[in-house]
Symmetry: C2
Subunit: 270 residues, 2 copies
């Protein structure tokens, strides 16, 4: 089973860009009349029939739509400090997308060694991981912002069509309306994973998640190799972030980020 | 904080090999009289004082020993089919070591595309991940064996000094005796993560882990990109493996392996 991503979607047709079209026609040799599976990156999977097999631009007729495909009963924002080594952050983006994440915010901490981050490559990785893991919703990879700005930024309703299980999602605007409705309805919880030595008031992420119901909008913030500064940690706590730890193992930044996303994924597993 | 690995240990002294010695003396510029932290790879961390700062072979006097350092209250064997792309398997080895694993068995399935695997590189990665994550016990990376042979192999008591919390471990032989004692005492549980289409009798790994007590000897088997063959899955079930799934996400082999190891780690988190 292979998913294609459609950048452009009309009421009855989907259009693949040049990369996807070349892959569809040149590599997988699909021809006019073939059935293909297309996702819109907004949570909808579509069974389609190819109407134009040009390797420069495939178009296909929508036969059937499955909104809220491959979703999870929560919205997850991971705010993670980019690692010194870019591969490690990109690896986190791939794994978090496979497991399930809705929004990735690269945050720059006072102790971050990497202070510049270009999201383009991570966005490509999220796209291919979404298709590879048969999901229909593309995680948003945002532009980097300072940790303190992220802490103080107003809550964004999770960009997830899955906040309410079985929600039926049509066009983007419908979804945004649903999002707005959901954002007022859902339970919001913000966690900061903090390793600071001598810190005693942290609970484990498992302990905190036990109280988190389905449909919650969850934010997890992960610091740089040198951890958050005490000022950043204090500001986060003052702004409603719950300090948590990830257990006895000392984990690398990207391992901590994937472990936290996995903890959320497993918490909602029946 | 930096850990060094000692290949050779006497009652009162530790000896670093040439790589560790060069790192200790040339890179970190330790000199005779300095205090360094050394692990034996068998679960014991030692505070030591350098007695010979030769970059070819550092020796140090043991000041204090901490057995059962950086451990976990279970023993975990991960039997995982090597991935087509070696980097992905090695990434699993690194992450599983950070989170906590005792034994890694590369298993070759009927549908494995990679049928040859050399463990040397993975052993180096496990060693540096052990030191980086401040653990004292080096996961065993075994030689590859066929899935069916692994299923039929007699249970090995987990090569973990942590099977019984707070166990005090001295020499290797003491530990092996403890291991033998433990192996008869501990609860053994074997899981096979199986994605086979139409398979209906699987429970989620979370559901199964709820029944697993501390001190258990846990084995998790993860198949190749093409999954286990029905024959392999049947043989596993006939030999006491519980078929489990890892939730709704379709995960790559190495992601499934790390997710399973993380599920065990999180299950025992207070």
């Amino acid at each position: 089973m292979e998913f294609f991503y459609a950048h452009e979607i009309s009421a009855r047709e989907v259009f693949l860009d040049t990369d996807e079209s070349a892959h569809c026609v040149r590599v997988l040799r699909h021809r006019t009349g073939d059935e293909i599976t297309v996702v819109d990156g907004l949570g909808t999977m579509m069974r389609c029939r190819v109407t134009d097999d040009s390797p420069k631009g495939v178009s296909a007729e929508i036969l059937e739509s499955f909104p809220g495909w491959g979703g999870h009963p929560y919205s997850l924002t991971m705010a993670v400090c980019p690692t010194k080594n870019n591969d490690r952050f990109e690896w986190f983006v791939e794994k978090a997308t496979e497991v399930g994440v809705d929004r990735i915010v690269p945050v720059i901490g006072e102790r971050s060694e990497r202070r510049v981050f270009k999201p383009e490559r991570s966005r490509k990785i999220a796209l291919s991981a979404m298709k590879q893991s048969l999901k229909a919703c593309l995680p948003l990879v945002e532009e980097p912002i300072p940790v303190k700005d992220f802490i103080l930024s107003p809550a964004v309703e999770g960009d997830s069509p899955y906040l309410r299980p079985f929600a039926r999602i049509g066009s983007r605007s419908d979804r945004e309306q649903e999002g707005l409705v959901a954002s007022t309805a859902v339970n919001e919880i913000k966690l900061i994973c903090y390793c600071f030595e001598g810190e005693t008031e942290r609970r484990s992420i498992e302990d905190v998640l036990r109280e988190v119901p389905e449909g919650s909008d969850i934010t997890v913030m992960i610091g740089p190799e040198g951890d958050f500064s005490p000022q950043e940690a204090q500001l986060a706590v003052e702004n409603g972030f719950i300090p948590v730890h990830l257990g006895p193992s000392r984990l690398r930044t990207e391992t901590a980020a994937v472990t936290a996303a996995t903890a959320v994924y497993l918490h909602f597993m029946k």
